[in-house]
């Protein structure tokens, strides 16, 4: 189990930085079209924010935002958004992942529809990556020692 640290400096800075980290992650995610960045980077930065909260305030407190169940849920939903957009294109009569077909629904021209499709996909990717990274973190950090021995010597 991760306990919270005693250090007031770490705690306060984590508290103050967290909204900015999330804001930056969302910026990276949404501006993937115009500047470096995109779904993966955004998702990983989001996950890093939660990891920061987790190591400074402890697992218990982080669960206000991100529990193991939420993480699982989001990882499914995120990937499903991606696959679902592809299926939507299929239903609209295009090939799989042919975002140009979304222009029929969105009411913009094909290039814009592709741009929006990319954005939607990136959001899905970001959700999935964030959730999976959190899952990996939770799973590895909360792995209990089953056979009763003391795990870790530090």
């Amino acid at each position: 189990m991760i306990r919270d640290s005693d250090d007031v400096i770490v705690k306060t800075l984590a508290r103050l930085l967290m909204p900015f980290i999330v804001g930056f992650a969302l910026y990276v995610l949404m501006h993937g079209h115009h500047s470096p960045g995109g779904g993966f980077q955004g998702g990983v930065i989001l996950a890093a924010g939660f990891v920061l909260l987790c190591v400074s305030f402890g697992l218990q407190w982080t669960q206000r935002w991100m529990t193991r169940k939420t993480a699982e849920l989001f990882s499914s939903i995120g990937v499903f958004i991606y696959g679902g957009i592809g299926v939507l294109c299929l239903i609209l009569g295009g090939n799989y992942l042919d975002y140009g077909r979304l222009s029929r629904v969105l009411g913009v021209d094909v290039a814009e529809a592709r741009s929006l499709g990319i954005l939607g996909v990136e959001i899905g990717v970001a959700l999935a990556v964030m959730a999976v990274m959190c899952t990996l973190f939770f799973m590895i950090f909360t792995a209990v020692d089953e056979s009763g021995g003391q795990g870790g010597e530090q």
Partner: protein, 239 residues
Amino acid sequence: MEVTLLLEATENAFRIIERAREHALGLLDTAVQFTAEETHYEDQKRVHALFAGAQRRKTRFQNMVGTTVIMFGFWLLLSGIFDAFHLTLGFLCSALVGVLFHDLLFSNVRVGDMRVVAGRFIAYIPWLIEQIVLANIHVASLVIRPRMPIDPKVITFKSKLETDVSFVTLANSITLTPGTITMDIKDGVYYVHALSKKVADDLNTGEMEDRVAHIFMEADHLYVQDVLDAARLYQAMRI
């Protein structure tokens, strides 16, 4: 002149008393909960105490709006694309952050007037930079000399600061200044590693602490004693 001072002092005294009462109530609360439940939720409770302040002072909604506005400013700073689509996205994202993390940014800021705090903080930065430059020169002069007359030691002092933000500001200012590093803060006691006697002395004069206290509108130790006296006087008068 003295009358205004006295009035100010009494006002301050009221605030202190009010705070003491709140504090006592909080303590009582904690004690009750302690006895009610068993002990092993201690960690959680400490965390809760850390965030309890803001939720009493400000409503959630104000916090959300505040966070959103700050995040939107941050977004504009980063973005550089100002068409309607991206601004809407920016607003949505900052609103999301505002809703999710409304109690992180503003928790525990003791005094409501953010404008004053921000102004003073900006005014503090040049002074800090000056200190950093001075200390840099000092440390460089120490290190350049072949004998290296350094005298490293750990000094401790009890700080009179009250909130976490001011603790952290002071700690980071100390760390930013070359020659001194904050190692730990335990219950208001700073453990600072100092490289030489001069930097330790500089720290012990307490100027930096006063300035940090001034930023966050905490008790200025120039007249804290007076205020306490006035408070005692006032209490005696009321009885």
